[in-house]
C-alpha cells in the first residue's frame, strides 16, 4: 500500500479511537457522573489532555525536523523546563495560574531556554545531535532548581508543588486552563503546517536545503518558535510531560514515512490519543489515587528513547 493510503487509514483509525477515548474519559471517574461533574471537571480535563497531546507531539515533529535530530523532544531539549519556570515566575509576581498571562511568560522563558540550547549546540553551521540533549539537561536542571527556590521562598505556587512541575498532572486543568492554552496551540499548529514542505528539505542539511531554495535560518527559527508555543502553552497548565513528543512522531514515521504534512496531522492525532489514554489510565488504574501522568509517559517513553539513542549513535559511528 502507498504511504498516502496508509496515512488515510491510520488517520481515520486514530480519529475513531480518540472519539472512543473521549467518551470513556467523560463517562468514568472517581466521582459520580452527574452533568456538573462532567461539564466542570471531566470535560475541561479531557479537552486539556487532547490539546496538550496535539501540542507536544507536533512540537516533537518540529524540533526533530528543524534540528535534524531524531532524539529531540520538548522536555529533553529544555523547552518544557523553560516554560515551567516561566509559569512559576509569573505566579510569583502575582499573575493568576491558568491565565493567558502566565502562558505568555512561559512562552518567553521557554524561548530563552531554547535560544541558549541552540546557541550552545552550534558547531560549523550544524546543530549537533548530542550537544542539544546535553544542553537540554543543563537548562532543565537550572530551570528545576529555580522553580524549587521560588517555591520555597513563597507559597504563591499554592497547590502546584515542585513535583507537579516535574511529573505533570491534569488534575488542575479547568476551563480557564483550556482557554489559556488553545490560542498558542492553534497558532503553533498553523505555523507548523506552513513550514511542513520546507522541513522536508531540511533533511538535506543546511547547505543542501539552502541550495534547494530554503531560507534555512528563517525556517529553523519559525519551527522552534512554533514548538515553543505548542509546548509552553500546555506546560504552564499541566507541568512537564516528557517523551510524548519523541514516541508519537517516531511511531507515525514507521507507518507513513517522514514526509512532514502527513507526519504532523497524524502525530497531532496520535499525541491526543496517547495522552488521553495515559491520563485515563493515570486517573482510573488506582482510583481514587492518581498516578502522575508524567510517570505513565516516562514508563512508555524511556525504553523507546533507549532504542532510538542506540540507533542514532550507530548511524553516526559512535560518540566518543
Amino acid at each position: 500500500m502507498t504511504r498516502i493510503g496508509k496515512a488515510w487509514i491510520l488517520g481515520i483509525a486514530l480519529l475513531l479511537i480518540l472519539i472512543v477515548l473521549v467518551t470513556i474519559s467523560l463517562r468514568f471517574g472517581a466521582a459520580g457522573a452527574d452533568s456538573l461533574v462532567i461539564w466542570n471537571i471531566r470535560l475541561p480535563r479531557t479537552v486539556a489532555a487532547v490539546l496538550v497531546g496535539i501540542g507536544l507531539a507536533s512540537a516533537g515533529v518540529l524540533l526533530q525536523g528543524s534540528l535534524r535530530n531524531p532524539l529531540a523532544d520538548p522536555a529533553l531539549v529544555g523547552v518544557s523546563a523553560g516554560a515551567a519556570l516561566g509559569a512559576v515566575l509569573g505566579a510569583a509576581v502575582g499573575l493568576p495560574f491558568n491565565s493567558i498571562w502566565v502562558t505568555t511568560v512561559a512562552v518567553l522563558t521557554s524561548s530563552m531556554a531554547m535560544a541558549v540550547v541552540v546557541w550552545v549546540s552550534r558547531s560549523n553551521g550544524r546543530i549537533e545531535v548530542v550537544t542539544v540533549l546535553l544542553a537540554g539537561i543543563a537548562v532543565s536542571a537550572f530551570g528545576a532548581a529555580l522553580i524549587a527556590v521560588i517555591a520555597s521562598m513563597s507559597d504563591l505556587a499554592g497547590v502546584r508543588s515542585v513535583t507537579f512541575w516535574t511529573t505533570g498532572s491534569f488534575a488542575l486543568s479547568n476551563w480557564a486552563g483550556v482557554n489559556s492554552m488553545w490560542p498558542a496551540i492553534a497558532i503553533g499548529v498553523v505555523l507548523a503546517f506552513y513550514l511542513a514542505p520546507s522541513l522536508d528539505l531540511m533533511a538535506l542539511g543546511d547547505e543542501g536545503a539552502y541550495a534547494s531554495g530554503v531560507s534555512v535560518t528563517r525556517v529553523r527559527t519559525l519551527a522552534i518558535l512554533a514548538a515553543v508555543l505548542l509546548t509552553a502553552a500546555g506546560v504552564a497548565v499541566v507541568g512537564v510531560i516528557a517523551f510524548l513528543g519523541l514516541v508519537v512522531p517516531h511511531a507515525i514515521r514507521l507507518v507513513v514515512g517522514p514526509a512532514h504534512r502527513q507526519l504532523l496531522v497524524l502525530s497531532a492525532l496520535g499525541g491526543a490519543v496517547v495522552l488521553l489514554l495515559a491520563d485515563t489510565i493515570a486517573r482510573l488504574a488506582l482510583s481514587p489515587v492518581e498516578i502522575p501522568i508524567g510517570s505513565v509517559m516516562a514508563i512508555i517513553g524511556a525504553p523507546v528513547f533507549f532504542v532510538l539513542l542506540g540507533r542514532a549513535r550507530n548511524r553516526q559511528g559512535g560518540w566518543a
Binding site: R3, G205, A211, S212, G213, R253, P258, A259
Partner: protein, 257 residues
C-alpha cells in the same frame, strides 16, 4: 556569458586568503572542470560561483545579474548544486528526495513540468528502479545517483557538481560522465570539480586550474591540461599524454613520479 566572476577574494583565518582575486567566465552550454591539488581553493571557488558562500570583495554574476541581488528562491531556480554532504535524515524514499528538486518551482507555471522533470531526471541518473526504496538503505553510489537526479530535476540552466565522482567505482564514474553529457546536450551549463584529471579531460570543454588559492590557468581543456601548467599548479612534475579512449574521445593520461 551565463556566469562571470570578477576578481573575487575570500578571506580566511589570519593573513591567509582562501581565494585571491579570482576571475572566471563561463559561456552558455560549456562544461567547465575545476581541478587542482587539495587545499588549492576548488571548493571555495565552487562555493562563491554557486552563491553558497559570500565573497569579501569582487562580484559574481549570473546572466549579467549580480547574485547578491537574487534571493534564495531565485538562486535555486538559476543554479542547482550537488554538494559533498549527501546525508539525508529520516527514511525518505528515492521518489520523495528527487521530487525535492522541484521545490523552488512551487507556486509557479513550471509546476506543470514537475512530473516530466522528475521522470526524466530519474531516467538519466539511472534511479528509476530505486523509486520506492528508502534513501538511507542504499549504497553510497546509489545514494549519489539519487542526489544527482534531484539536482537534475531542479531544472536550472547552471549546474554545479562538487566532486561528484568521489566514492564512485570505474563503471559508476563512466556512467556519471554519460549522465553529465546528456545534461549538457539539452543545453545545461556544467561546472564540475574533481581530482580525476583523466575523467575530466574527456568530459570538459574548459578547465579552471587552481593552485595556491589562485587560478593557474583557465581555457579550453587541451590548452590547460599540459605538463607545464599542471606541474606549476601541483608543485611537482606531472606528465600529460593525450590518447583516445574506446569511444574515440580524447583523454589525457596524467602521471606523477
Amino acid at each position: 556569458m551565463i556566469l562571470a566572476a570578477r576578481s573575487c577574494t575570500v578571506l580566511g583565518e589570519g593573513e591567509q586568503l582562501r581565494l585571491d582575486a579570482v576571475s572566471v567566465e563561463v559561456g552558455q552550454g560549456e562544461i567547465h572542470a575545476v581541478v587542482g591539488p587539495n587545499g588549492a581553493g576548488k571548493s571555495t571557488l565552487m562555493g562563491i560561483l554557486s552563491g553558497m558562500q559570500k565573497v569579501d570583495s569582487g562580484s559574481v554574476e549570473f546572466s549579467s545579474r549580480p547574485i547578491r541581488d537574487l534571493n534564495v528562491r531565485e538562486l535555486a531556480r538559476a543554479r542547482s548544486v550537488l554538494g559533498q554532504d549527501l546525508a539525508v535524515s529520516f527514511g525518505f524514499t528515492v521518489a520523495e528526495v528527487v521530487a525535492w528538486g522541484r521545490a523552488p518551482w512551487r507556486g509557479t507555471d513550471q509546476m506543470k513540468e514537475d512530473q516530466n522533470a522528475i521522470e526524466w531526471a530519474m531516467q538519466v541518473a539511472h534511479v528509476t528502479s530505486l523509486r520506492e526504496r528508502r534513501i538511507n538503505q542504499l549504497s553510497g553510489g546509489e545514494r549519489k545517483r539519487v542526489h544527482i537526479a534531484r539536482v537534475i530535476a531542479q531544472d536550472c540552466p547552471l549546474n554545479f557538481f562538487d566532486e561528484p565522482d568521489s566514492d564512485l567505482d570505474l563503471i559508476g564514474t563512466n556512467e556519471l560522465g554519460a549522465t553529465l553529457r546528456s545534461l549538457n546536450e539539452i543545453g545545461r551549463t556544467l561546472l564540475v570539480s574533481s581530482h580525476n584529471l583523466s575523467w575530466v579531460s574527456a568530459l570538459a570543454t574548459h578547465v579552471i586550474l587552481m593552485g595556491d588559492h589562485k587560478i593557474v590557468g583557465r581555457g579550453p581543456t587541451k590548452e590547460i591540461l599540459t605538463t607545464q601548467l599542471l606541474s606549476q599548479a601541483y608543485g611537482k612534475t606531472i606528465n600529460v599524454q593525450w590518447s583516445s579512449d574506446a569511444s574515440g574521445r580524447e583523454i589525457a593520461v596524467c602521471t606523477s613520479n
